[in-house]
């Protein structure tokens, strides 16, 4: 069974290689090949999953050692895989959602002449993401981490003829570099601390190491997670990343890659458990991002950017849960999985809407689409109900658990975190209701596009609707399936550990509060966007609204603090280099040159001058000898 693990990665990797190197002759069949290989990976995942279910909880983890990558004395880098319950969850999510989105893309990218390349990149992403989640050491994880960064860069900038897309790709890549630096520093710290970076030894001996080192490692890992998962302060790239094709937004920037940070923190749980300071920072980052993303999501008129803000906010929930320690790890992963379903479904729905509306993304120009796109409306609606936490749907179970866990953290901290999470739930309900109302309800507000074509909204082809339907099923039932009978908790507990915590509130109270928050959010949104017609041109709005439209001034902040600051720093360094360093170097050179010029006169080529110096030297030697004898 272990030997199948490599096959998980090999299938999409083969697809990427064939599609990217195969050239034009694969243009007609390439997308089928890519989809088939993604599906093959999913099937392998399923086989491994059924095999795993047949075993006892303790021996479910599988290991496969492929080869030694860098075997050096005292430094062992292996290409080795580890498939435990946590990895298995991710494998199924990645390959499952990935396969659905491959199928969706067949229809979505039908008219794009570079479709083969698109599928190649998608397969490359799948391979890298799978390496990331099944690696058995941090170095290989880092390899996959960079691989998904590369795939993300390529796919955001897929329509590179648009300057905005090219810029967004560059931005995503650069911001991700900051996080990657954190991960590489964390790995180096691990190596100096533990002498290895394999998960097993590092995590087992984490408890016996000094807290300072663990805090440093934890903060660096958090930095990495912030970069990849678009958490404050490295969140600015995610909104712009929506320039990529919608399937990419669904797969990479909603369901899988952006959750890699959560995976990293949960995987490194042992380190964070032993470093409460780092854990506190994780929680703060999660809580801040949760509100930040929600506020941004409220103000955006671009449907994909509104969803991107929502993604940021939902991942904030996960990070918050992951920062709670064993109380929250499992619920972070659970929310991650259900979020993978409903957010992918929402993005695919948004893509379907755009597909029918001449690629229009401004929600103010939608309206009343429910009659024209019934399947999209229903699937999107189910996703909507799931994300706002409508009782009985996926989001309800996972989010409710996170809010409970936040309260269960205990003390003032627990109250603050719980309140923030509840507030987030209300805002989530508000902005998602706003999206829903603006898109599918109200009057038609369509306008001809720049070339004068009146949009003719229509339902999308079947290759697009089927994945949406499947994901809608997941959005509805996954949460209940996981939560009832604590299935998910039992499944992951051997890997991450679990702790009930002591909630000051009963579960029913929390659930009630969540439902109240939900109702309040939906009610406000209905009052603002359901009862009155939505203006086609956005009103000026309050200061907060305007700031939120500009992503809460994150780019301005980055520009002022980082770009300007960097420029000033560079200028001063250049000045120091020119005046001080060059001064020393040039001064040395000049003095050596001047001295040599003077010394050169001694070398006049006349034998007699040399004889004088020789004779003088002999005299000095005699003088020295006599002096030594005298002394």
């Amino acid at each position: 069974m272990e030997n199948l693990i490599a096959l998980l990665v090999a299938a999409p990797l083969l697809g990427a290689a064939v599609l990217l190197c195969g050239g034009r002759r694969l243009d007609k069949t390439g997308h089928w090949l890519g989809t088939a290989l993604a599906a093959a990976s999913f099937v392998v995942g399923l086989i491994l999953f059924t095999d795993m279910l047949g075993k006892g909880a303790e021996d479910r983890a599988l290991h496969q050692h492929l080869f030694s990558w860098i075997p050096v004395e005292g430094f062992q880098a292996d290409i080795a895989f580890q498939l435990d319950q946590l990895s298995m969850t991710f494998v199924l999510l990645i390959t499952g959602v990935g396969t659905l989105i491959h199928i969706y893309s067949i229809g979505y990218m039908e008219h794009d002449e570079r479709r083969r390349r698109f599928f190649g990149y998608l397969n490359l992403f799948l391979a890298a993401m799978l390496i990331l989640v099944i690696a058995d050491n941090y170095l290989l994880l880092y390899f996959g981490w960079e691989g998904v960064g590369l795939a993300s860069f390529l796919l955001i900038g897929f329509w590179q003829h648009k300057p905005t897309a090219a810029t967004a790709a560059k931005k995503a890549f650069l911001v991700n570099r900051v996080g990657d630096m954190g991960l590489s520093i964390a790995i180096m710290l691990m190596f100096t601390t533990f002498g290895t970076f394999a998960f097993g030894p590092v995590l087992e001996s984490a408890g016996e190491t000094s807290q300072g080192k663990l805090t440093a490692i934890g903060l660096m890992l958090l930095l990495a997670a912030c970069g990849k998962s678009a958490q404050v302060p490295l969140q600015s790239w995610l909104g712009d990343a929506m320039e990529g094709p919608t399937p990419v937004s669904a797969l990479i920037h909603a369901a899988t890659m952006v959750t890699a940070g959560v995976y990293l923190i949960v995987r490194s749980g042992a380190i964070f458990n032993a470093a409460p300071d780092a854990q506190l920072v994780v929680v703060i980052v999660g809580a801040v991002t949760l509100i930040f993303g929600a506020i941004v999501g409220c103000a955006k008129d671009d449907i994909k950017k509104a969803l991107a803000g929502s993604t940021m906010s939902q991942i904030g929930y996960m990070i918050l849960a992951a920062g709670l320690g064993p109380i929250g790890y499992i619920f972070a992963i659970m929310h991650l999985v259900t979020h993978g379903f409903f957010k992918a479904g929402l993005f695919l729905g948004a893509g379907s809407v755009m597909h029918g509306m001449n690629d229009e993304v401004d929600m103010r120009k939608y309206g009343g689409l429910r009659k024209y796109m019934p399947v999209t409306f229903i699937t999107f609606g189910l996703g909507y109900l799931a994300i706002i936490g409508f009782p009985g749907l996926s989001g309800f179970f996972s989010k409710d658990k996170i809010i409970e866990a936040a309260f269960a953290k205990g003390g003032t901290e627990g109250w603050i975190l719980g309140s923030v999470a509840l507030l987030g739930a209300a805002i989530t309900a508000f902005y998602m209701t706003r999206v829903m109302l603006m898109t599918f309800f109200g009057e038609k507000r369509w306008q001809p596009d720049a070339e004068g074509h009146e949009p003719h909204p229509h339902e999308s082809p079947r290759s697009m609707t089927i994945p949406m339907i499947v994901l809608a099923f997941g959005s509805v039932f996954a949460g209940g399936f996981f939560a009832i009978g604590d299935r998910f908790v039992n499944w992951l507990e051997p890997v991450t550990g679990y702790d009930h915590g002591h909630s000051p509130l009963s579960a029913a109270t929390v659930t009630g509060a969540t439902v109240v928050a939900l109702v309040v959010g939906v009610g406000i949104a209905w009052a603002m966007y359901g009862r009155k017609p939505v203006p086609v041109v956005a009103p000026r709005g309050s200061v907060l609204t305007r700031a939120a439209r500009r992503d809460l001034l994150q780019d301005d902040f980055n520009h002022v603090v980082l770009v300007r600051g960097g420029e000033h720093l560079t200028r001063s360094l250049v000045y120091v280099d020119h005046s001080l360093v060059d001064g020393v170097v040039n001064g040395t050179a000049a003095s050596v040159g001047g001295l040599s010029g003077r010394m050169r006169k001694l070398q006049n080529g006349y034998a007699r001058t040399y004889a004088v110096s020789m004779f003088g030297g002999a005299a000095v030697v005699i003088a020295a000898t006599l002096l030594m004898r005298a002394v």
């Binding site: 006049n604 006349y606 007699r608 001058t609 004088v612 004779f615 003088g616 002999a618 005299a619 005699i622 003088a623 000898t625 006599l626 004898r629 005298a630």
Partner: protein, 289 residues
């Protein structure tokens, strides 16, 4: 000289000899350095070396004393003289210093060095002199003693020195011998070359000829009365031994005119040349000697 053995003082005879000859030797050395002409330097050096040979003998080194005379003064100095003749005497003999500060540096270094050496010797405790009597007598004489050492203790050094001598003689031959690699130019070719270079086509002019002396060192006069150096041989030119007779001939001409004027009874000519007369006569008499 066996009487010197194991004594810190020498006989009065040797002392007298040392002070007299030592002073001469220092004078010889100084004139080697200071005399202008290489030949004089060589002769002074030869004198110094002979005196050193005497000192060797006085010190009981009979063999070395003889070798010094034969090899140094006899062979090496003659070699020097040959080379001086070969190279000829040039203007480089002048003692005028061309390098800036060289003379002061040299003087400073030499003085310092000499003072240091002498101070060193003075400092050293050289009170006892064993003398060579015993050493010379051990093998029946100075020459036998040296021979015994050379062929036993120093036999390798001796052999190597022999090899060095042979190498040196071969090297000297290699350095000085020049194989002619091209045909010598014949007269026509030389003439053509001279025309091509355009420097001086006809043969060099002869020196001015006066019956009164050798005349090789007297340049011929150009039509305006100035001497032409081209007419004098190169060696004399380099030595600066050209005898300038231009003024002399003018004075001679005046004297001739005066005498002919006297004979012809020209009063005015007599009055004009009276002041220059005696001087010209004196020069004439000097030239005639």
């Amino acid at each position: 000289m066996n009487a010197l053995a194991a004594a810190t003082t020498t006989s009065t005879g040797e002392a007298v000899q040392f002070w007299v000859l030592g002073i001469v030797a220092v004078i010889g050395a100084l004139s080697t350095v200071l005399l202008k002409k290489a030949v004089h330097s060589a002769l002074s050096l030869a004198g110094t070396m002979i005196i050193l040979a005497v000192f060797y003998l006085a010190n009981g080194a009979y063999f070395l004393g003889v070798v010094q005379v034969i090899v140094y003064t006899g062979a090496i100095m003659m070699l020097f003289l040959f080379v001086v003749m070969l190279v000829g005497v040039t203007a480089e003999d002048s003692l005028k210093e061309t390098l800036k500060g060289q003379r002061w540096l040299a003087a400073g270094c030499s003085l310092g060095f000499g003072i240091l050496l002498i101070a060193g010797i003075g400092n050293a405790s050289l009170s006892t002199f064993n003398g060579l009597g015993a050493a010379n007598a051990r093998h029946g004489g100075n020459v036998e003693g040296l021979a015994n050492l050379i062929f036993t203790k120093y036999v390798f050094a001796f052999e190597i020195t022999g090899a060095l001598l042979i190498t040196a003689s071969v090297g000297a031959m290699v350095l000085t011998h020049r194989e002619r690699t091209e045909r010598a130019k014949n007269q026509r070719e030389l003439a053509e070359q001279r025309v091509r270079e355009g420097k001086h086509l006809p043969p060099l002019p002869a020196p001015g000829v006066y019956a009164r002396h050798n005349a090789v060192d007297i340049p011929g006069l150009l039509p305006d009365g100035t001497p032409s150096e081209l007419t004098v041989m190169q060696t004399l030119r380099k030595r600066g031994q050209i005898r300038d007779v231009s003024q002399e001939s003018l004075a001679d001409l005046k004297a001739l005119e005066q005498r002919s004027g006297e004979r012809l009874g020209r009063e005015d000519a007599d009055a004009v040349t009276r002041g220059a007369g005696p001087a010209s006569a004196a020069e004439n008499s000097e030239a005639a000697q």
